[in-house]
Amino acid sequence: MDFSLSPEQAMLRDSVERFAAEHGDFPAWRRRVAAGEAFDASAWAQMAQLGWLGIAVPEAAGGMGFGPVETMLVAEGLGRSLCRVPYAGSCVLAPALLAESDPLLGDIVAGTVQVAAAVSEAEGRYDLAHVATSAVRSGGGWVLDGAKSFVPDGATADWFIVPARTAGGVADTAGITLFLVPATAEGLQVQRHRGPDHHHHAKLVLRQVEAAVLGGVDGGLGPLEAAVDRAIVAHLAEAMGSMEALRDTTLAYLKTREQFGATLGSFQALQHRMVDMAIACEEARSLLYLAALQLDAPAMARRRAVSGAKARVGQCAMFVAHQAVQLHGGVGTSDELAVSHHLRRLRVIDVLYGDAAHHLRCFAAATDAMAA
């Protein structure tokens, strides 16, 4: 049992901290957003240069072949600096599904191609097994029909990973196959939206879209769940960075801001609130570690750790974000401080791949399954 970083990991952490400090310049961030830039392209390019886009990609495919801990370290820095890049989807989720020989991996590592996962449908809400989008054999290939309700960072994606039903009923766990669809595919409509987090997301409508199978036919759900869990942990690490930024900013504000002739931090009720924010960060970090370190555990143990973390880190994050705004007062609601933007990003992360209510149910089911 060991929660310490290896020397290499510690170096990576330091490097991420420098990166976050550099790209965390908030006025510059606001200028990029105001200019309508769909993601932080210069940060993305630098991440590619540093090799971070390939952290979760096998060495044989041009990546660094690292594990969840390194992924977590990078994602924390992204959260801390509010960096708007499609890291979890393109560099964590997609590489977990692509074959080592897939040439896309090289483009992902180079940052020249973005891959997004279109894993949810309106009728299924957050249930990955609820797949109504159909895939029918046509000639030597497949043709997809259906719609996907939310694709994180999907607006700038070059490729989509699309689960479709090749057998069974609409909510069956078997009979789901994963497909790779280029954004330019005939019959594919990409509806682009800006989120409250200033990430650019998408919805998909597929009408007779030709697509190539990714992995095996009918058995796509298991690999998809494993890949999504890796993306979830990356997003939780991002949330962690964001939460700690809020915690630190708020603490500094309490120490300097004066009201009624005293610093805000001298008021006991606010002190205790600040303490609860600090505890929430400790809880979240503990769950993040447990989840990251169990990504390679058997499915039920992984499910319990990841869903537990997704539910509770989300609750802790929203508590920290809400209290950060509250303790900043009016200025916390202004878009001129990073505080409000951290809240907005955390609120989006909270629903990515399932909200707290959904994951609490998954956690309970996994807990009961493991006890049985």
Partner: protein
């Protein structure tokens, strides 16, 4: 003790209902129903209709042009307005500065300002908060120096709602520096088109422009625009305290409209093929909020009944503010939760339009974060209850 309304009150309810049915038009109804807050121009248009009906000021006495309604009548009006998705009236003129003017203002001020508040022609904004003060309002620094028959104002206000649309601003300014910071503060009425006033927008969490910074640079204000006596401006706000209770009590009733929209959404949203609203845990969360709203409604009714009977309802005004703001946050959180990832689609830029409610739930959730901060942060409200009501 009883919850019944008199026959006259029931007749009044029918009158209100008929007026609202005839006057709340479709677009306005949809805007309120979906949680969009109307812009000043829309609220002013509504105020003109209320004015035409003779209902410009439901909380004012008749002598100043108000309806002279009893608290119960006001309660009935607000209940029906919430049910009909009617917009609110211009709050700052009607509830914040109007009553101060008709209580402390000169006859000339009453004649000049009140009619335009009632008709909806004037839009007032409030110059109280300052960047360095926060909830500690009295530590304000904006100075007004007497120069002949003018005051010369220099300084800065912040969180000024709809200053960009306002015709007038009422400002607390420091006319003298005294050891007790509540002294030496004066209340000035200032036309927004006076030279030297500059408005800078602040965009808030919900991506909307409703608050501002207002800068005063050598702004010359006629001395006749001073309300009451110089240096006594701090005390004039007290007239609002008693009124405020009844008003926040009625405001609590508007919460019901969020419950309705959450239910509509959650009935339409599917989770694994069935309605989200049918899930026991979602319904349970909503029921918990509803039952707390019922308590708030009960607190409001008791406060209105106290107002009707002329009885002091103690700290219940602060309690209503605390509970209302906590609940409006929870209900809008649940609204956004019901919409799921659809709530995260703030602004469509290609392809088809987003469904109507999409940006509204998220914007409402984000906007409501400010309710526990404004009007005296909830922490300050708790201090007030502890000191004044509990003697701690």
């Amino acid at each position: 003790m009883n919850l019944a309304f008199s026959a006259a009150e029931e007749a009044f309810r029918q009158e209100v209902r008929a007026f609202l049915a005839a006057n709340v038009d479709g677009p306005m109804r949809e805007m309120v129903r979906t949680g969009m807050r109307p812009e000043p121009a829309e609220i002013q248009a509504w105020q003109r209709r209320m004015h035409a009906q003779g209902w410009s000021a439901p909380t004012w006495p008749r002598e100043h042009g108000g309806t002279g309604w009893s608290p119960t009548q006001y309660f009935i009006y607000e209940t029906e307005a919430a049910r009909a998705y009617a917009p609110v009236q211009p709050h700052q003129g009607l509830e914040l500065i109007g009553p101060i003017i008709f209580t402390y203002g000169s006859e000339a001020q009453k004649a000049k300002y009140l009619p335009r508040i009632l008709s909806g022609e004037a839009w007032w904004c409030q110059g109280y908060s300052e960047p360095g003060a926060g909830s500690d309002l009295a530590s304000l620094k904006t100075r007004a120096v007497r120069d002949g028959d003018h005051y010369v104002v220099n300084g800065q206000k912040i969180w000024t709602s709809y200053a960009q649309a306002a015709t007038n601003i009422f400002c607390l300014v420091r006319t003298e520096v005294k050891p007790r910071k509540q002294e030496g503060i004066s209340l000035l009425l200032i036309d927004m088109d006076t030279p030297g006033i500059r408005v800078r927008p602040i965009i808030t969490l919900d991506e909307r422009h409703h608050v501002n910074e207002v800068f005063f640079d050598e702004v010359r204000v006629p001395a006749e625009n001073l309300v009451g006596e110089e240096g006594r401006g701090w005390g004039y706000g007290k007239v609002l305290l008693d009124r405020e209770r009844g008003i926040s009590a009625a405001g609590a009733l508007r919460l019901a409209q969020f419950v309705r929209v959450v239910k509509e959404r959650a009935a339409a949203v599917r989770d694994s093929g069935s309605a989200l609203l049918a899930q026991p845990d979602f319904r349970g969360k909503l029921a918990q909020i509803e039952v707390e709203m019922l308590a708030l409604e009960g607190m409001s009714l008791r406060t209105l009944a106290d107002a009707e009977a002329g009885v002091d309802s103690g700290p219940r005004g602060s309690m209503l503010k605390i509970r209302w703001s906590e609940l409006v946050q929870r209900i809008t959180e649940l609204w956004a939760e019901a919409l799921g990832t659809d709530a995260a689609l703030m602004e469509p830029y290609t392809g088809v339009e987003a469904a109507d409610e999409m940006p509204h739930a998220m914007a409402a959730y984000l906007h409501m974060r400010v309710t526990t901060i404004y009007g005296g942060a909830n922490e300050v409200q708790r201090n007030i209850i502890a000191w004044r009501a509990l003697g701690l």
